[in-house]
């Protein structure tokens, strides 16, 4: 354990994490693995890979939790972990939905016209 652990996150239902670096590394590598299954030119894959690799590099470089929180700029480290879990479930669902395909159906004429 590096340094003093904070007593509480201050958020209901979010416990203080004892090994945030390990947790984040596992999650980020899982996300990157899940993104591998998508076509290389899919915008979701491009931008998410960029974002996640950047965050992963910060996690690998910075050992101090507080400085890492500042660098990641995403709130407390527990919130960052929660967000990474969300991103993981999202990438798995995106692999099913395949949103990079072209538009399924054009809207009927004048559907979005305003004023009528």
């Amino acid at each position: 354990m590096a340094g003093l652990l904070k007593k509480t996150t201050g958020l209901v239902g979010l416990a203080v994490s004892h090994s945030p670096h390990e947790h984040l590394s596992i999650l980020y590598s899982k996300i990157l693995a899940s993104l591998e299954g998508m076509p290389r030119d899919a915008a979701y894959r491009k931008y998410t890979e960029q974002l996640i690799s950047e965050r992963f590099d910060h996690v690998k470089a910075e050992a101090d939790v507080e400085k890492l929180e500042k660098k990641l700029n995403g709130g407390q480290i527990e919130e960052v972990i929660l967000q990474a879990e969300c991103e993981l479930t999202l990438s798995r669902k995106m692999a099913e939905w395949k949103p990079w395909e072209p538009l399924i159906e054009e809207p009927p004429p004048n559907q979005w016209k305003w004023p009528i």
Binding site: Y47, G74, Q83, C86, L90, M94, P102, I104
Partner: protein
């Protein structure tokens, strides 16, 4: 003792209220005297926010081209994303879970009835992101009979809002845990917020003394319905003029048509 206390409280409150009223009046007068502003109060257009929002809208549209039909930023700097009804759950899940969007809160779910369109109902979702302090509006369309996927698996807040849309408009939400009426009376027939539903409805209720219960009877208006012609002589939306007639397209070799 209680009466005297009450008198004291009332007197004290009354005195306080009068003081507040007079002081605010004085403040108003001084403000009017000091300011010599004559410009009308129009919100100044914020180009920076507008460009940021359009860039973000392009980002979202690039991520999900399968479902997103149109993206707009209104003049009041509100981002609107128009999607195909099949894409309700994918788009909402993306906006909730993705790191760059994180719209974790659904603030509103309503419908708009535009009877002249083929898909008359426009379902509108409002989302809020606390992390990035921004809001977004997602719009879908449906007609009277096609169901829309329920947003409840993504946002639990959508539960009662979807019940309300079902009750008021008649839009069916598939996979909703408990879709039943929420605002109308128990045996009520009809969907009140549709544009073809009259203001006073079709039935009125009264207590019948002989039957000893409440009965529903056709509504009786004491005054005949009056239709007002509210057209103004001035154009209502000068910024949205339609071109009068498109010039007839000529194929190569045709003689130009005669002008009437």
């Amino acid at each position: 003792m209680a009466a005297s206390l009450a008198r004291l409280v009332r007197g004290g409150l009354g005195r306080g209220y009068n003081l507040a009223r007079s002081s605010s009046l004085q403040q108003q007068q001084s403000r009017q005297q000091s300011s010599t502003e004559t410009r009308p109060t129009i919100r100044p257009s914020d180009a920076v926010t507008h460009s940021q929002l359009s860039a973000f809208g392009e980002y979202v549209a690039e991520m999900m081209p399968k479902y997103i039909q149109q993206v707009e930023v209104t003049c009041y700097n509100e981002l609107e994303v128009m999607i195909h009804p099949d894409g309700v759950i994918p788009v909402l899940t993306f906006l909730k879970d993705h790191t760059n969007t994180q719209f974790r809160i659904m603030t509103d779910l309503t419908a708009v009835d535009v009877p002249s369109r083929q898909n008359r109902f426009e379902i509108v979702y409002h989302l809020l992101s606390m992390r990035y302090n921004s809001r977004i509006r997602i719009k879908t369309y449906t007609d009277e009979l096609s169901p829309v996927d329920s947003a409840v698996p993504v946002f639990i807040a959508a539960n009662w809002y979807e019940r309300e849309v079902w009750d008021m408009f008649g839009v069916f939400f598939a996979n909703h845990p408990d879709l039943r009426r929420i605002l109308t009376d128990y045996g009520f027939e009809g969907h009140p917020l549709r544009k073809d539903f009259p203001l006073s409805g079709y039935v009125e209720v009264r207590y019948d003394d002989e039957l000893k219960r409440v009965v529903a009877e056709p509504v009786e208006l004491s005054q005949e319905f009056r239709k007002f012609d509210l057209n103004s002589p001035w154009e209502v939306f000068p910024a949205h003029r339609e071109p009068k007639e498109a010039a007839a397209k000529l194929e190569a070799g045709d003689a130009p048509s005669e002008k009437k």
